[in-house]
Structures are given as structure tokens and as C-alpha cells.
């Protein structure tokens, strides 16, 4: 499937971006302002109120440590939450026009990632300007990590969006689940702070790998490889394949349930 050159897919992505992000009052400015505002809130809460300290963050400080992990996480969780009801939200389209409906969750994930990655770049720039040394060369290593995160998100989005057609409560269940996942992923803390056995269990949370690797590449300049560098990307591809298979198996029946 030549997805990215597909005209319908492009239209769907550009629509999702426009409705969800750009058609607010200040339009494009929010793309940069919103992540920065979020960053300011987190910086205030965690450095002034909680006085969080991360041992291995060392000289880089807590805020960059958080920021590097936070935007990819937001892209991931937002894209899954947004796509969870995208089939029933587009029931009118599905019931009237024949097109590959997997484009709906995939375009939602793509739009969310594109927008959050633009914000991510802005945040990295601001961090650099504020005096955090960003490993800019590490971006070349970070891009594949983000691509696998995207593939992983696509797979899950395909799965939940298809499931939601049959079980409407999926959207409601997902919100607390994603919050749980957020707090069980070392985003606002470091896995080194965890007591056993949680520290070991946490290694099998694929999201731990993504945030750890992004910090390694963009902040710490740590390129040491581990077996997880193979396993987690493989899992992403596997989840994508599984999600797509699940979706295609049931997409013929969507119309009956909408």
C-alpha cells in the first residue's frame, strides 16, 4: 500500500491537522506556544513545587530530562486516544463512500505525530537557547526511534479503533489506561529510582525503551547498545502487523455496527 502518496490519505491528514490544531484562534502560533507553555508548567511544578531531582540527569537538570521524554509520549498517547473513536466519528463517510478505512486511524496518528514533532523541535530549540546542551547529532539516531514509536502507535491505533466499533466503551477505558501507562513509564522520574522488582518489570514496558533511548541520544550522548534495541523495534513492527490484520479482518463489518 502506497499510503503516503495516496491522495485520500494526504487529504485526511491535512484535515486532521487543520481541525485539531490550526483552526483555533491563533492558528499556527499554538503549534509552538502550546508545547512551550506546557514545558513552563512542568518546569514550575517539578522544580519549584516538588523539587524533583534525577540523579543521572546530572548537570542537564530535570526540565530537559522531562521534556525529551514528554513530547514523544504525548504524540503516542494522544494519537491512540484520538484515533480510538475515529471510525464511529466518521460513520457518515464509511457508510457512503468506499475507501480503505484503515486510512482513518493512520491519518489521525500521522497528523498527531507531525504536530507533536513540530512542537518537539521547538522545545529542543528552546532548551538549547536556555543553556541545555542538546546533542544535535543524536537526532539522526533519535529519528529511527521516533519512527518505531510511530509504527507502534499506528498498530495500537488500528487495533483500538477497530475494537471501538464493536465495544463503544473502549474510548472511556483507554483514558485511565493511558494515564496508568504514563506513570508506569519513566517520564517524570528515572527508572534508576525504582525499587526492585519494579525496575526489572519496567524494562519490559516498551515505552521505557523509547524514552530512555531518546534521552540517551539527545541529552546524554550514550550510544551503548542492548538487546532491547532489537526487541522493541521488532515488537513495534509486530504490533503494527497485528493491528492491521485485526483491522482488516473486521473492517468489512464496520457498517453493520455503526
Amino acid at each position: 500500500m502506497n499510503l503516503f502518496s495516496n491522495n485520500v490519505f494526504r487529504q485526511l491528514v491535512s484535515r486532521a491537522i487543520r481541525t485539531d490544531y490550526l483552526e483555533n484562534l491563533t492558528g499556527f502560533a499554538w503549534l509552538i506556544l502550546q508545547p512551550l507553555a506546557m514545558l513552563a508548567v512542568y518546569a514550575f511544578v517539578f522544580t519549584t513545587i516538588f523539587k524533583a531531582r534525577i540523579p543521572e540527569a546530572g548537570p542537564v537538570g530535570f526540565v530537559p530530562y522531562l521534556a525529551i521524554a514528554f513530547w514523544p509520549w504525548t504524540a503516542f498517547s494522544e494519537s491512540i486516544l484520538r484515533s480510538s473513536n475515529c471510525i464511529s466519528a466518521n460513520a457518515a463517510l464509511i457508510g457512503k463512500v468506499a475507501f480503505p478505512s484503515e486510512m482513518l486511524p493512520l491519518s489521525t496518528v500521522t497528523a498527531t505525530f507531525l504536530m507533536n514533532m513540530a512542537g518537539y523541535l521547538a522545545v529542543l530549540l528552546v532548551l538549547q537557547l536556555m543553556g541545555t546542551p542538546i546533542q544535535w547529532l543524536g537526532i539522526f539516531a533519535a529519528i529511527p526511534v521516533l519512527v518505531f514509536l510511530y509504527i507502534f502507535a499506528c498498530g495500537l491505533a488500528l487495533f483500538v479503533s477497530a475494537l471501538q466499533v464493536f465495544i463503544r466503551d473502549v474510548t472511556q477505558i483507554l483514558a485511565p489506561l493511558m494515564t496508568f501507562w504514563f506513570f508506569t513509564t519513566p517520564i517524570i522520574y528515572s527508572s534508576s529510582l525504582l525499587p526492585e522488582p519494579f525496575a526489572t518489570v519496567m524494562k519490559f514496558n516498551p515505552m521505557s525503551w523509547y524514552v530512555a533511548r531518546l534521552r540517551d541520544f539527545l541529552l546524554l550522548g550514550n550510544y551503548q547498545l542492548s538487546v532491547f534495541d532489537l526487541l522493541v523495534p521488532m515488537l513495534a513492527v509486530l504490533v503494527f502487523w497485528g493491528g492491521l490484520t485485526f483491522f482488516r479482518r473486521f473492517s468489512a463489518h464496520f457498517e453493520d455496527f455503526l
Binding site: N7, V8, R10, Q11, R15, T19, A92, L93, I94, G95, K96, V97, A98, F99, F166, I167, R168, F250, A252, H253, E255, D256, F257
Partner: protein, 394 residues
């Protein structure tokens, strides 16, 4: 020649999924790969082929499964059983602005719709001017579609379809929405589209349009293909079905009113009937009828013959006393009237002939009998009878 569309034994079954528990159960059986058994079957074993250039009409009552069949043809839903094969570049104009999102402007929706119809951005740019000219809605194209009237939505939708250059155009009853001049524009476009050898598949309640634009037709009745074939015979049986239905309702009312009297009909017969009791005339044939009346008091009753369309609309009626006709006396109590309608000008369709027994003064209707006959033939003329006419040309 390969058919554009081939449907074989297509059935469609909608599972019952209104309550969460039913949804779960239906989902569970899908997971297990089982067939869902509870629900409503909206299409049953429909097969058809559409050949290039043979425009096709689908007719039937509301709820007969026409829209479901169109959705299956366009690939929006997949059939529960049977196979669908499409070998044509097709464009569908199903519901008002299918695929239009109300929040977006007309031009955005044109972009999306053209993408859905398989046009590349380049093709769209090339055709954009002609699309806007065809839609002819002025600066409204820059407004969100939610501010459009239903007519404007159809204009825009149809305009995109014209630009997508389909081989097979599928339409529902959508063209009925536009105003007179736009409807004419659409019909003109469809006619030139057909002249180029393309094919139309339409659902319509207008037998006039179906006969005008289509060669073959399918009559869907409660999800079953009741008749498939030449457009004239299918539309005629469909109309006859409707006429009969309203006539039987009327007869029931009459029966309640109760028509009774002294003078009875012993027999009404059509001598031209074949052994099965069917009578099929060609246009212009003579129609002969005989009525035997019973009179208990030996005074000859008056006979009234009436010809009506199958729905009961009277075409012509005449009584024996108008023409001062005396019956043939068979015995003390029985009298026979014979009548012949010559060169019957009835157009093809189903009709019935009624004989009535009236009192000897020709005032009270005492008894009624009815027989059916039909007139066959392929004619595009409208109405019930042919009026003699002449076109005056230079």
C-alpha cells in the same frame, strides 16, 4: 464482452446490534468466525450482470433493499454471502453530499471528494474551473458546506462526479433535489454521458426516468429480486403490482358497503381468454366480453360494462340502456349481453373489465363481476390510452 458488474447470489444480513449485549455477542461470533444468525436479512440471493452500455434501473418500494444493493455495488459494505465483481471505473452519487464534511468549505470538500473518486491533485487542478462552472454556486464554494442548501450540495457533488470521467455512474434519487434548470443540466449531462457509450445505474421511483434512461431493470421486493429483465416489462409489472394493491384496498371498502339486489350476474366471460383464463391483447386488438344476467321477475335487467386500469381508475363505461340495446333471452330468467370494443386504444399495461347487473330502470347497481386482461407491447407513450394525434411539421 465482460460485464461491468457481476453480482452472484448476494445476500445481506444486518446483525442486531442496538444494545451493548447484542453488539458483544455479534462481535464474539465474528471473532469466532461464525455466521451471525440473529438479525434482519435485507437482501436475499440477488444476482445480476450489467453490461457496458446497458443502463440499468433498480425499482421497488421503500425498504425493499435498493439502497443496500447500491452500497454493495459501490463497495461501501460487503455482502454476507455471494460475490461482487466490478470491472469499471465507477463514480457513485448516492446520498446528498456523501463524503462531504459540513465544517469544511466547498472547495476543500471538492478536493476530498475528487481524491475519493481517484483523481490526482493534478487532474483536479485541471478540472477545477469546469467543476465550479458546472456547480455554478458562485462564491459559496469558499463557505463551509454546512451553510449550503441541499440543492447546492447536490450541485457540487454532481459537478465533481462529472469531472471524474467515470464509465459507470451510480445514482440514487439525488437529482430530485436540484432546481428545475439544474435537473435539466444533469439530465443533459447524463444523456451525453450515455451517448459516449457509458453506463448508468440508477435507483428511482420515477418509472418515466427509468424507462427513458435505462435498458434493463431489476424490481426488488422485500429483498428478493422479483423481476429482472427488459425495462418495459419490469416497470409494467411493477406498476401493475401497485395498481392492484390499491384496487384491492378499494374493493374491500366496496364489499363492506354491500352491493346486493334482485338482479344477479350469472356469468362474465371474455371469449378470447386462453385455457388458463389469461387474456393478453396486442395494442389495437378488439376486446370482446359477454355478460349473462339473472332476473327473477322475467324483466330484462340493464347491463353496464366498464373498462378500468388495474388500480381501478375508470377508462370507459357504457350501459345497455344508453344505447337502447335489448339482450338476447336465454330462458325465463337469463339474459345475455355481448359487447365488442373495437381497435382498443389502451396502452400496454394491466386492465380489468367489469360487468354490472343493474335494475331494469338502469338506476340501481345490483351485482358486479370483474375479469382481468392485459395489453402487451413496448411503448414509451404515457397514460392509459392513445389519443389519435398528428405532429404538424413544415
Amino acid at each position: 464482452m465482460e460485464p461491468l458488474i457481476r453480482l452472484q447470489g448476494v445476500s445481506k444480513f444486518y446483525p442486531r446490534v442496538h444494545r451493548p449485549r447484542e453488539r458483544l455477542r455479534a462481535f464474539a461470533s465474528l471473532m469466532a468466525g461464525k455466521e451471525i444468525r440473529e438479525g434482519a436479512e435485507v437482501l436475499h440471493d440477488v444476482s445480476l450482470e450489467i453490461m457496458p452500455g446497458q443502463s440499468f434501473g433498480i425499482i421497488g418500494e421503500n425498504g425493499a433493499g435498493k439502497s443496500t444493493l447500491l452500497k454493495i455495488l459501490t463497495g461501501v459494505i460487503s455482502p454476507s454471502r455471494g460475490s461482487v465483481e466490478v470491472n469499471a471505473r465507477m463514480a457513485a452519487l448516492l446520498e446528498l453530499g456523501a463524503g462531504f464534511q459540513p465544517e469544511f468549505s466547498g472547495i476543500d470538500n471538492v478536493r476530498m471528494k475528487s481524491a475519493l473518486l481517484g483523481m490526482s491533485p493534478g487532474e483536479l487542478d485541471k478540472n477545477l474551473d469546469s467543476i465550479l462552472a458546472f456547480a455554478d454556486i458562485g462564491d459559496y464554494v469558499y463557505e463551509p458546506v454546512k451553510h449550503y442548501s441541499s440543492g447546492m450540495v447536490v450541485r457540487l457533488g454532481f459537478a465533481v462526479v462529472t469531472a471524474s470521467n467515470p464509465e459507470l455512474l451510480i445514482t440514487d434519487e439525488v437529482l430530485a433535489v436540484g432546481d428545475e434548470s439544474f435537473q435539466k443540466k444533469c439530465i443533459r449531462w447524463i444523456e451525453s454521458f450515455l451517448e459516449q457509450g457509458n453506463t448508468l445505474l440508477m435507483v428511482s421511483h420515477s418509472m418515466y426516468l427509468v424507462q427513458k434512461l435505462c435498458h434493463r431493470a431489476l424490481w426488488l421486493h422485500e429483498g428478493h429480486a422479483r423481476e429482472l429483465g427488459d425495462v418495459f416489462s419490469v416497470t409494467q409489472s411493477y406498476l401493475a403490482y401497485h395498481e392492484e394493491r390499491s384496487a384491492s384496498e378499494r374493493r374491500d371498502r366496496q364489499a363492506q358497503r354491500g352491493e346486493s339486489g334482485l338482479y344477479k350476474i350469472s356469468e362474465l366471460l371474455l371469449p378470447q381468454q386462453d385455457d388458463d383464463g389469461a387474456l393478453v391483447l396486442q395494442y389495437g386488438d378488439d376486446l370482446k366480453a359477454e355478460l349473462v344476467l339473472h332476473s327473477p321477475d322475467g324483466i330484462p335487467p340493464v347491463a353496464l360494462f366498464g373498462v378500468m386500469r388495474a388500480d381501478g381508475t375508470p377508462v370507459y363505461g357504457v350501459a345497455s340502456d344508453y344505447d337502447q340495446i335489448e339482450p338476447e333471452q336465454l330462458d325465463d330468467q337469463h339474459y345475455r349481453y355481448r359487447i365488442c370494443f373495437e381497435n382498443l386504444p389502451l396502452l400496454p399495461g394491466s386492465y380489468s373489465i367489469r360487468g354490472h347487473a343493474m335494475d331494469p330502470q338502469g338506476i340501481r347497481l345490483c351485482d358486479t363481476a370483474e375479469l382481468r386482461f392485459s395489453v402487451s407491447g413496448a411503448s414509451r407513450e404515457l397514460g392509459m390510452i392513445r389519443l389519435p394525434h398528428r405532429w404538424n411539421t413544415k
